[in-house]
């Protein structure tokens, strides 16, 4: 039986919760490449993903949806175009405690511009329990400014239901009639 291999890509800056989010929703223990951070990254996170995270949602009959998390550090951005091949959508996670969330959004939407235009993106704002601002309303304005249309939800990457809703938003954006 042939296997259908499609991917959902999780991206975002260091510490935005990509590894945690994949772990929350994956049917397998996440396969991760976290290492002790040795550079500026250490200021935000003790260990960081150096290559990618990998998880799976099993649909039965050998059908799987692969979940890939991009490395948080920008110096590995050459991998991103590789990772997106075969992707059905992008989950952009943004850490609300970072200094310039707008720049983060701008950077990642620009990096995945072609993919987003061809497929779909959903944005998850993490760490809002630690810092309330910018508000989700502000993120919506930024998204407008950048010319993208995507669901934006506040998420706790540790909570399966939050990540599940984020993915449901992604799928419904791809096909609003998906559940009918």
């Amino acid at each position: 039986m042939s296997q259908i291999n499609r991917k959902i890509i999780f991206t975002g800056p260091v510490g935005s919760g990509k590894t945690t989010a994949i772990n929350s929703i994956s049917d397998i223990d996440i396969v991760s490449t976290n290492q002790n951070a040795s550079d500026m990254t250490q200021k935000r996170k003790r260990d960081t993903t150096v290559a990618m995270d990998y998880g799976v949602i099993k649909l039965g009959n050998d059908e799987k949806v692969h979940l890939y998390g991009t490395p948080g550090q920008e110096r590995f951005d050459f991998m991103w175009s590789i990772l997106t091949k075969g992707g059905i959508g992008l989950v952009l996670l943004l850490d609300n405690t970072r200094k310039d969330s707008f720049n983060d959004m701008k950077f990642y939407t620009n990096s995945f511009k072609d993919f987003i235009e061809e497929h779909q993106m959903v944005v998850g704002i993490t760490q809002t329990d630690r810092q309330r601002t910018p508000s989700i309303s502000q993120y919506r304005e930024w998204l407008d400014e950048l010319g993208y249309e995507a669901p934006i939800f506040e998420v706790d990457a540790r909570k399966r239901e939050d990540i599940s809703l984020l993915l449901q938003g992604l799928l419904l954006s791809l096909d609003p009639g998906v559940a009918e």
Partner: protein
């Protein structure tokens, strides 16, 4: 150096590369870079090296290696190493630059190989192997560098398929490779199979039928799948409690015609006559003034803190008391708005941070208030013939949900619809569309630019895709059963 065929990928050995970069390169070469490169486990098998020249001592190490093997090198570094013997790839590395460097080295090796063959045919006394390789430097072994050992011992054991050891750090198994270099240690990468989580994986469920009975089940299921996400509803509610709450939020109308919606006064409301009107006015005021705004509704006092995007409310939005407050018409002068001074604002902010039980997300509070006020009715200002377009999705992870809400959002963002059109197209009771409309109106999430609405009028939403439907079914099923 052996004969090189350019048609084959360049065999490369990663030398003096940090575990981080090594993981990236291994992944790259294992995927799209595989046409240009192939990784080998030992320097002896390689056509060329890839070396991080910013790695301490790597430059000297490679020069020593090169003196023995004469193998070329792709040098990764921030600054140009100014060495004609290497192909420089500047950092940050790009896939294209790596491939270009690989192609360049392949071409050079091909040329050398051709030259060697020509030379061999004319001078049989000179072996190919010794042609390019200078004699070893005295006292230098190819594996004596401390850096090689360092790299190997700290290898994160990355695998080309993307399966890695992750947090469960598997120490690489070091084995001796006989018959190659006596003292070359190679990291043998243990094969890892992803471990299946011990969670229930329910089998695929058939698509929902459109019959009334199954639709009711779907409504309950649809609500159950999302109810956990509203902050105050984390407790498990009975089916009866869910139905009762849904009635408060959405009313209980099955299907109402356009004309009836506008003609029947009982189906209309004016938010100005309810607490909601003052709440929305307070929100605007708080946004404009950047100060905390107090809403006095005796005996209660509410505070809107826009810069924290929070509301301080003495009543729990999920309580019957608050539902009653929202649904009851206010009397003139019963509700008052005040902009607080800096001192009072700071005191309230302190309370907001210490009394989390009374603090609510602003959007979630307005959403719930809008629904409780409308309870299945439409604003008297609604034009039933107008097609609306959703500009932004509500924050579904934090608002109080009801059946079909996300599906309505998805449809309404793709294309402008009248309220009745959405209900008809989705074959759902109109009360859910009305409820969604009221919530979105309260949050001002509808598109207001007519040009944008017109742009999308003729858009056909994409058709159902099998895999997406199956994944969606899997996610919603899981939420409903968890």
């Amino acid at each position: 150096m052996g004969t090189f065929k350019q048609s084959h990928p360049l065999k490369v050995y990663l030398s003096d590369i940090s575990p981080h970069s090594q993981a990236i390169l291994e992944f790259f070469i294992g995927s799209t870079g595989g046409k240009t490169f192939t990784l080998v486990a030992t320097a002896a098998e390689a056509d060329a090296y890839i070396t991080d020249f910013d790695y301490p001592g790597s430059k000297e190490h490679w020069e020593a290696e090169h003196a023995v093997s004469a193998k070329p090198c792709i040098a990764l570094s921030i600054e140009d190493p100014q060495n004609p013997l290497v192909e420089w790839v500047s950092k940050p590395i790009t896939a294209n630059a790596l491939v270009d460097a690989g192609v360049s080295i392949s071409q050079k090796l091909q040329k050398v190989s051709s030259d060697n063959q020509e030379e061999e045919s004319t001078t049989e006394t000179v072996s190919r192997r010794s042609f390019k390789r200078p004699p070893p430097l005295p006292g230098l072994s190819t594996t004596q560098s401390p850096f090689r050992k360092k790299v190997l011992s700290s290898s994160p054991a990355i695998h080309t398929a993307g399966y890695t050891s992750g947090n469960r750090h598997h120490a690489p198994v070091i084995r001796e490779v006989a018959g190659q270099h006596d003292d070359v240690a190679v990291a043998e990468r243990p094969k890892l199979e992803p471990k299946v989580k011990q969670t229930t994986s329910t089998p695929a469920r058939p698509q929902t039928s459109s019959s009334v009975a199954t639709q009711q089940a779907e409504e309950i299921r649809d609500d159950a799948s999302t109810q956990d996400n509203s902050p105050a509803r984390r407790q498990v509610l009975s089916v009866e409690q869910i139905r009762r709450r849904q009635k408060l939020l959405c009313g209980n109308h099955e299907n109402i015609s356009h004309s009836k919606l506008k003609q029947n006064e009982e189906l209309n409301y004016n938010s100005e006559n309810f607490f909601l009107g003052t709440l929305i006015a307070g929100l605007r005021l708080a946004k404009q003034t950047k100060q905390v705004v107090q809403i006095k509704f005796e005996p209660h006092q509410f505070y809107i803190c826009y810069d924290e995007y929070l509301v301080f409310s003495p009543l729990e939005p999920q309580s019957d008391e608050y539902a009653e407050l929202c649904f009851t018409r206010v009397k003139p002068g019963q509700v008052n708005l005040h902009i607080l001074g800096s001192k009072e604002s700071n005191e309230i902010k302190k309370r907001i941070h210490t009394d989390a039980n009374f603090t609510h997300d602003l959007e979630s509070f307005i959403w719930t208030s809008s629904l409780l006020t409308s309870r299945g009715r439409v604003p008297s200002t609604l034009d039933c013939e107008t097609q609306y377009l959703l500009k932004h999705w509500p924050n579904f992870t934090r608002i109080e949900n009801f059946p079909f809400a996300m599906k309505i959002a998805a449809r309404w963002q793709k294309k402008p619809y009248k309220l009745s059109e959405i209900a008809r197209e989705m074959d759902i009771p109109i009360r859910y569309v009305i409820a969604f409309y009221n919530g979105v109106l309260g949050l001002s999430l509808f598109e207001t630019k007519q040009s944008k609405i017109e742009q999308k009028i003729n858009i056909q939403p994409p058709k159902n895709k099998g895999l997406i439907a199956r994944l969606f079914g899997r996610l919603t099923r899981n939420e409903a059963t968890s």
